[in-house]
């Protein structure tokens, strides 16, 4: 019995640490979505599909064209950033004055387009980079370097966004627009340009997530569905547009998924996360950290 408990604790600790590592990437995705929502007041349902396209970009650059991972990653980030800007320019910009639901559904159409484009262009096979990073063993616990790298890179990415928002003129303008759309255009801020930059930034975050996720997961046209819904839950639980809330909610969810996966299949981790979400909706309906008005 004692031996059983020892093993159990080690697995538990391992799951907790893996949960924290997973939380980093989820927080990155939530940040991207929150940024778009906070500034442009639009939700990109197709956000996870942008990540999917980035993962395919990485796959083709590394596996087909033989670029080293470190060279391919910036290109993938640029690619998805451009895609984000294009998405805004082509789909969102004409709909800025339309009801919010229409904007949301239009990005749903883009989700269809990206998924089926990937099916048509890349086929439905599962593909991976073929890079296997070593596994770090601490005592009897095992952590893959790909997860550690993902965690660290996600944190660095989030810090970079933070400093960009706080220290640069454009970042300040973005924050100002998020606070008041009408006034800022009167103050001489070109909101169209700010929207485009924000969309590109959101895309870049998706691209960074793609570079990190492609190390851990195989890419296929529907891979977005396995982390898209969870990202939306995180954003709603943290409060849409609330960066800190999204950050913390990402780690909470990652723990639930990781621990749930420990006791059963990974899918059940997602189900548990959803059940938790519903319960939280009863307790804190406006998000975990909503200010009481």
């Amino acid at each position: 019995m004692q031996g059983f408990l020892d093993i159990f604790d080690i697995y538990l600790l391992e799951a907790v640490v893996n949960g924290i590592l997973l939380g980093g990437v989820l927080a990155l995705l939530a940040l991207g979505l929150n940024l778009i929502f906070g500034v442009i007041d639009v939700t990109w349902i197709c956000y996870a599909e942008l990540v999917m396209i980035g993962m395919y970009g990485m796959y083709y650059m590394v596996q087909v064209f033989g670029l080293p991972y470190w060279v391919a990653a910036p290109f993938a980030i640029l690619l998805v950033a451009a895609l984000g800007a294009a998405l805004h320019y082509i789909v969102i910009a004409p709909l800025l004055t339309a009801p919010p639901i229409n904007q949301l559904l239009a990005t749903g159409g883009v989700l269809f387009i990206l998924q089926s484009f990937a099916t048509v262009a890349f086929g439905i096979d599962f593909r991976n980079l073929g890079i296997r990073l070593p596994v770090l063993a601490i005592g009897e616990m095992h952590f893959s370097y790909s997860r550690l790298l993902a965690f660290v890179a996600a944190l660095v990415g989030m810090l970079a966004i933070y400093f960009f928002m706080k220290r640069t003129y454009t970042g300040t303008a973005i924050r100002a627009v998020a606070q008041d759309r009408q006034i800022m255009s009167l103050m001489g801020v070109d909101t169209k340009r700010i929207y485009l930059i924000t969309s590109a930034l959101g895309g870049a975050l998706a691209g960074l997530a793609a570079c990190l996720l492609v190390l851990q997961y195989d890419v296929h046209p529907f891979v977005g569905l396995s982390f898209g819904p969870i990202t939306f839950l995180i954003c709603v639980l943290g409060g849409l547009g609330n960066f800190v809330g999204g950050f913390i909610a990402a780690f909470v969810f990652a723990q639930i998924i990781s621990l749930g996966g420990l006791f059963s299949d990974l899918e059940w981790g997602y189900v548990l996360a959803f059940a938790f979400f519903i319960v939280m909706m009863f307790i804190r309906p406006a998000g975990l950290f909503a200010r009481r008005s």
Partner: protein
Amino acid sequence: MNPRHAAWGVGLAALIALPFVYREPYHLHILVLILIWSFAYTAWSIMGRFGLVSLGHGGFMGVGAYVTALLWNHLDVSPWIGIPISMVAAGVLALVVAYPCFRFRITGHYFVLVTLALSGIVLQVITATRDYTGGSLGYTPNRARSGTGLMALQFDDKTTWYLIALGVWVLGLLVWRWVDRSMSRYAMEAISEDEDAAAAAGVNVTAEKLKITLISALMTALAGALYCQYQMFISPDTVSGIAVSLQMVFAVIVGGLYVSLGPTVGAIITIMLAEVLRIGFGTKAVGWDNLVYGVLLVVFIIFLPKGILGSVLDRLKTQPKPSGTK
């Protein structure tokens, strides 16, 4: 009896008579699919027209289909009982998710994202319980022994299915009309304009929204169960998940959200489109139909948000010809 009712009566009589004079199985099959999906799309539009955009209907449809099939295969429960049970299950799911949403004023983006997650989760559950549901490989209800087809709601005859689907489709339109003429419609329209003002005017916001959501979810589950009984094969991707939810939204938007036959027009367009692409491209068409759907969805939302039928009817109405109806 005004001309409008007469037109409906003649149209319906023609539809009922159709399978007795025209028996081409492939075309009947397409018609059955159109009718079943029209019913599902109508179910979605009952909520959607009031701004309650749900992307969780893939989940309700999946529950309807899988609960019916699982009860039949594992517990020998006839679909005649299984379908009501599956509808209740979907209804309970809808209430559990929708109640906190409505009670705590989760609207707009938030509501869409929550329901979106719901359909994603139903897909995950079906995949996770692969020991029972066959996971992503799909699931087939057991064939009934010969002679017990009625009890098992399994018919080889396309005409029978056509009439069942037609009946359900008409039922869907009647529910749509009933909602359209009820007090709920005014309450819901007030709510979609301004919840606080509606509440101040004495509308029980939460109860009205729950009522509409429940009706919509029950109908969607029925559509899922019928689809399962007709096709005798379901997979998580065809009856649940985000793609199915978006497909519903797409068809309704294309057809027209605010007119009773809009979802039907949407179903005709989407299913014909899928079939034409499938026949035209063969197996190469995998993905192409969704690609075209997606592009059309975006184009429609940008340029024709009232849908095809809605825009045509608007055009007709603005013409100076005075008409006695409506």
